[in-house]
Point group: C2
Chain length 346, copies 2
């Protein structure tokens, strides 16, 4: 059991300066005065330009840059978001993230206390997901040429032997499952930006999805056809992408879509359609119809997902399109979002 | 043989907007209208959130973010720099980069023609180094919150079976070898920033080092103790880091250090010590004394490195320090650079 209490070490500076990205003495001091020990493991401790490890078999690899603004928000910060984001991209490939690289682009002037809080969150999230930080890089840009901190994470890990996840395996009649209520992450950020955060208790749903994804694959193998975490652009964008690639029709049921009342209210107030709002801790799965109920039951009972539900199915109608049946029985097309609804959400 | 001529496709926009980072229709169009086909390969073509591949044995992994300013400079641009940088970090671990991820953070307003030129350079550099682009991510930040484009590359590939590269293996009496003249990259950038570029023909040395590194390991195995490409902070910073880690003394010979006359002149004019100036296409190796001459001969004869030279050795004097013997026989300590000499050099 590692100790996750990490009091900030004594740094001899208050803010990050350009020199901390120089590769010289200040970079060296920044890393040696706490960062290396925070993430300490045998691979990182060698302090070479790269890490060397032994891998066997089928491995998934994914990369993501995080530019969320503000850096700290209800339920998380850019640090745990950056870890969970890549852990989840791998989980959606049927893989368990084992190793993660970190690339920081810091704007000159970032308070060291903020950097430390972010680092501690990275460590905590990595520990929760069971992933090791193996290599990193720090760059610093002038004030006004960045925005606090941007973080790239690239993760890798073994694909589950029973996994066979591909949009090409989706068939007519398959069911769409969602693991939790939609739109919480995007609305947590937007509430903060719009100054609504004191009127609601909405928090980001950022969390690792690897355990529940592995549970589904472990139990149902190749009957889990496809998985994706609906982040930027929300459920609507993921489904539109898949609809275009597969030429299948996807029909959603409005009444089946789980959403927290406060989130729905905030969406109305902000003029946002929750189908397009980002999520950072829910999973969208396309599964064979015969296992759909059992998948939902597993999510309910084993993975603390009380709102998991079947939210739609794959049809021959409207090929290549996503449609939704409204509460009163009407049907409308859910298009690709033409522009940007929520910039810098992750 | 792939075709490396890549005329710019017809994009229906001139500059990158926030919507191109939304994950919605514009992101989709940007990727589909040329980017995916530019990097096409079976892994990338699946267009999942991550790539799945089969790896066996010892693998090296390295990550680096590139924030060079300006984006285009004599001898290269941020695109080939980002590929070569990570290819070289892996080469210095004794590994050959095989797979690369790309993470873009683009500032709103970047002209699409610039983005395309950078993408084409990435493709060209990846082709030259024999590395496959397997996964990517694009984020867009508001004008004034970034600087044109930042690129993260994370690479992985097999470690050569004969490689045993570690600072812990460095011994007293080992020789320091450099593969080419120092300080060209940093001075190419600085000349441009200071408006001196028309007075010189200095170009960046950005290039892949994987072939020459592999040649040394193939021929001399574990007698190659340590390798590092002296990028940010130059030769002086790398050696200081290693001196501190190993507690060995490192002594350089000023007369043996290769440097182009124009670069040396520009350093004097700009008040820069070339030992601290960044390189992006040379290798610093610490090798057993008995193979030092043969290493240099191999670099001369097989890898078109006419300036490769033995530039110093590992001593018991001044443990943990780097010193240099001057042209007139004096000796001075080469310290860690206290601050930032050249911001945003890579």
């Amino acid at each position: 059991m590692i100790n996750l209490e990490c009091p900030i070490p004594k740094f001899d500076f208050d803010v990050i300066t350009l020199g901390h990205g120089s590769g010289g003495l200040l970079t060296h001091r920044l890393l040696q005065s706490g960062v290396f020990s925070l993430f300490s493991n045998p691979l990182l401790d060698l302090q070479h330009d790269g890490a060397t490890l032994t891998l066997e078999g089928r491995i998934a690899v994914s990369t993501d840059s995080f530019v969320v603004s503000p850096l700290f928000f209800p339920g998380g910060n850019i640090g745990d978001l950056a870890v969970n984001g890549t852990v989840n991209d791998l989980a959606m490939c049927g893989a368990r993230a084992k190793h993660l690289t970190l690339g920081f682009i810091i704007e000159e002037g970032l308070p060291i206390t903020q950097l430390w809080d972010i680092m501690v969150s990275i460590r905590q999230a990595a520990h929760t997901a069971g992933v090791q930080i193996i290599s990193g890089d720090t760059k610093v840009v002038e004030k006004g040429k960045g925005d606090g901190i941007f973080i790239n994470t690239t993760g890798m890990g073994p694909v589950h032997p029973n996994a066979n996840i591909s949009h090409q395996r989706i068939q007519t009649g398959d069911k769409l499952i969602i693991s939790g209520p939609i739109a919480a992450h995007g609305i947590a950020i937007m509430s903060l930006r719009k100054g609504l955060e004191f009127e609601t208790t909405i928090t980001s749903d950022t969390q690792p999805l690897c355990f529940m994804a592995e549970g589904l694959i472990e139990n149902f193998g190749a009957s889990v056809r496809f998985m994706r975490d609906p982040t930027r652009g929300g459920v609507a964008s993921v489904l539109n992408e898949v609809a275009e690639l597969t030429k299948h029709g996807f029909v959603l049921s409005q009444t089946a879509l789980p959403i927290h009342e406060q989130v729905e209210g905030a969406c109305e107030m902000l003029g946002l359609d929750p189908l397009y709002v980002a999520n950072e801790g829910i999973m969208l799965a396309v599964v064979a119809p015969e296992i759909a109920e059992a998948c939902v039951a597993l999510l309910h009972n084993q993975y603390a997902c009380p709102h998991a539900a079947i939210i739609g199915e794959v049809t021959t109608e409207h090929p290549g399109k996503v449609t939704i049946k409204s509460r009163i029985g009407g049907r409308r097309v859910v298009n690709f979002l033409p522009g940007e609804q929520l910039p810098r959400i992750c």
